[in-house]
Symmetry: D2
Subunit: 285 residues, 4 copies
């Protein structure tokens, strides 16, 4: 059975050794291991993907709990290929309702074979969706408009969330959150074509470049600022010359973005794709 273990700690010393010891003593094999040390952001972290006999599952969890208690490391153990239940999704949103609604509807219809564990937001705009689709609503907004990033992670931990879906969620996750759910568990919908239009206003940027093609990109978040974009799905639409920017944005937000995100989440949930050494690989072609 494959396990993905992530650890975030106060410095880079003592980060790798206890987990590596634990895994190798249980007879596990290290399939991938990455460390990250960024003094400026005070983020020190490790990801390792290991193969371990499922008979040792309880021993692994006990050892990890002991390491966590002894060292103060924030450690998570995730099984990407568990078969005993559907994947649990936390859907994060802010102001736009189209993409979270589309994911919730696709779960309800069975197109996405997952469970909607939570709708998390830093604003009130999408609260009605929680009631409509009968999904627990979690408000992590602060009075100043920012979000309680640690609360988001706590919610996901408590609910046993497998994947965090950023459905036009307008806040940038801090590196520590990205590392805690590293390994291909955070899926973002960007409302422009990556890597060409990465900014906050990709429709405006593409329009200013006089393009007639607009698109959306569904990708894994990888917890390094410099990393390339790990694209899971892209969808596009083209317009005739003279189409107004407002009309372009309307078509993008109402039709193209929801379709892009739903298909991207479906590919991950159905394990057609996965993150492997920071690259998206096709598991079934």
């Amino acid at each position: 059975m494959q396990y993905v273990i992530t650890a975030v700690g106060p410095d880079h010393r003592g980060l790798a050794d206890p987990i590596v010891h634990c895994v190798t003593q249980l007879g596990g094999n290290i399939a991938e291991i990455q460390m990250y040390d960024h003094d400026e952001a005070s983020v020190f972290s490790m990801l390792t993907r290991v193969e371990l006999d499922p008979a040792n599952d309880a021993s692994l969890r006990q050892s990890i709990a002991e390491i966590s208690a002894r060292t103060g490391l924030s450690i998570r153990t995730w099984m990407p290929r568990r078969l005993d239940r559907k994947p649990r999704l936390a859907i994060c949103c802010t102001l736009r309702t189209e993409t979270p609604r589309a994911v919730l509807a696709a779960i309800k219809s069975g197109e996405i074979a997952a469970e909607a564990a939570a709708l998390i937001s830093n604003r009130q705009t999408c609260r009605g969706l929680a009631e409509e689709f009968d999904v627990p609503w979690h408000d992590i907004g602060r009075p100043d408009g920012s979000a309680d990033d640690e609360r988001m992670i706590d919610i996901c931990d408590e609910l046993g969330v497998d994947y965090v879906i950023l459905a036009r969620y307008m806040r940038i996750l801090p590196p520590s959150s990205c590392w805690k759910y590293a390994g291909g568990r955070i899926i973002n919908l960007h409302h422009g074509l990556l890597p060409s239009f990465p900014g906050m206003r990709p429709y405006h940027d593409a329009h200013a470049a006089r393009m007639l093609t607009y698109g959306a990109t569904c990708h894994f978040i990888v917890p390094e600022l410099d990393a390339g974009n790990q694209i899971i799905n892209q969808t596009t639409f083209t317009v005739a010359p003279g189409t107004s920017r407002d009309e372009i944005i309307r078509r993008g937000e109402q039709q193209n973005e929801p379709a892009c995100l739903v298909e991207g989440v479906r590919r991950v949930v159905d394990r057609e794709v996965a993150l492997h050494f920071n690259r998206v690989v096709a598991l079934k072609v």
Copy 2:
């Protein structure tokens, strides 16, 4: 009636005055005028778009001929909105047959309401198309693989060509050719999305960027190296993760590029779009 007059000369002195005099003396109005002086490339040129009473057409042509004879300027007068005949196209190609074939077929079927005046190439690969579609074939290739750029212009002049279609024509037109047919008369098919992937190998570049979206761009050539891209049409297709680059190129060359160019040429021929002060504007929305 609108006329587009282009002039290319040996220096920038004496370039504008005689033509401006001629037009204003005939009672014409200057709707647009641009000059270009690039010492390094030894290209000095002017474009003016004027409105003139068609009754003065013969006088204009006679005056321009006299100016040309007296000054040595290379001057062309073009009527973008003539109604007495279909636009004449010169289709330029090199090695790939898909896009020139698609344009020829669309002319034959009537989808593009134009006349195929010539098939021009610097290689022999597409010669069969000329026979198949009964279009005059012009070989402008030189033994070293380059093209006789002046011969291309001479052919277009002799045949009264309205639009030059670059259908995966693999040579870069010199600035003097671009200026001689300036004003929205040269239409290029680029086999990538502009402005994101401008190079010689856009499929490879987009693939290296791990994109899942590929596209083609049909645009006017504007005779300044620094100018933005004047996009007439863009078409895209998306692929699943894991699709091979060869398969992507195959789909792009065989399906996407021909469709992109045919629709782009149709928009120009049907005067749905035109070049106006270096921008593409929609004439009918």
Copy 3:
């Protein structure tokens, strides 16, 4: 004698004809002519550089005044090579004092052979410089922090300003202002290397790219958003690995930027460089 004539009007019709007629009837030669039509910004403008017998100077000015009165066009006539007086500079600033101080000091010392006609600002921070160097102070700030762009142009018109110096002036000039003083009369100091770091925070961007080289760029403003950068001078400094961003900004603002701008303005005032068909050319090499 060379004249640069700029015209800004309510549409592109009727923009070129009256000025072209006037110049050619006075026996002038058109050395350069450019028109610009941008519906979205409602800016329609023309620049022409002509050679005219100075004996016709009064006739030119009278004719232009009549055209302006009759058509409502906003027309300016500028003589870039006048010898009867030193060039007059309007120095525009906002919050940083280093670069305007350096220009004022270089004028006082004679390094820049010009006259400081005005210190213009949308903030109060640099007011002390006006008193210190005995230069008229013009406050064009509005309560909301923006600037009265038309007032800036009015001041420059009234004072017979030859060159507008943007010395870390933090507002973007509207296209109409750029066109009114087109032809190489607006000189900007950008606090980063162009074209690599064009944004509002070039020190931050270069630091984020882990560069060890930082620079400043003095360039002509050319009134088209898409135009390349017309660089008059660039200066750089390099730092050792580990140098803090604050220290880098301090060195840039206090030492590098002032030196860059002073030398750039000197090159223009001494007519070592000029703008010629949107390119910077060296007049004396």
Copy 4:
């Protein structure tokens, strides 16, 4: 004592476990560990930086030799902070002599406190330098102009080379070579400012962008195509408008590039900077 251990193998399975076991059994601490798996390039590799009691040095080397023999992994153990001898440099060059000459001269004069272990080239142009500075010459060129990349690594292994200096070496090292000498041991001189001008012709590109600033960049090679540039030193020079491109290239190649590389190599050899988790960090500020 710090050790950097790199391993390159035929697949990613079995890459990490034996080395991790060996190090932890000897009581070492893992300070950094990275793995890389790129199926397309068939490169599978690992880097680990460990702290180990020097008393275990012989045990480490013996264990590594056994692992290498048993698994077929290509493993290297490097001590970046050894004090018993000067660092040994392999200087790689192709056609230009200025930068390799400058490094050799700086070693001879003592400015760079290192030993020139070898001059390696795929061409004959720099052979005279080997004789002049009495450094062993190694020709790794092939008849077709390419280089024997494996021979380069063999030479460095045999000579106990600490750092590989690419002094305008015109071949791209394969990923396997980069990984074998990973950890901040390969130093490149790029003849343009990074990251702005990364291509093969940075002087031409910056000149085409009308820049007046030109530069060179000395950086560590990091064995992932997508990685940012790890800059050790940058030097620049500025030119007056109108300076010819040939003159710019002459100044760059003869003055700026040699100075940039010599200072960069000196910083590494004097351990003022080092590579730490893919970033350049200042060790003494």
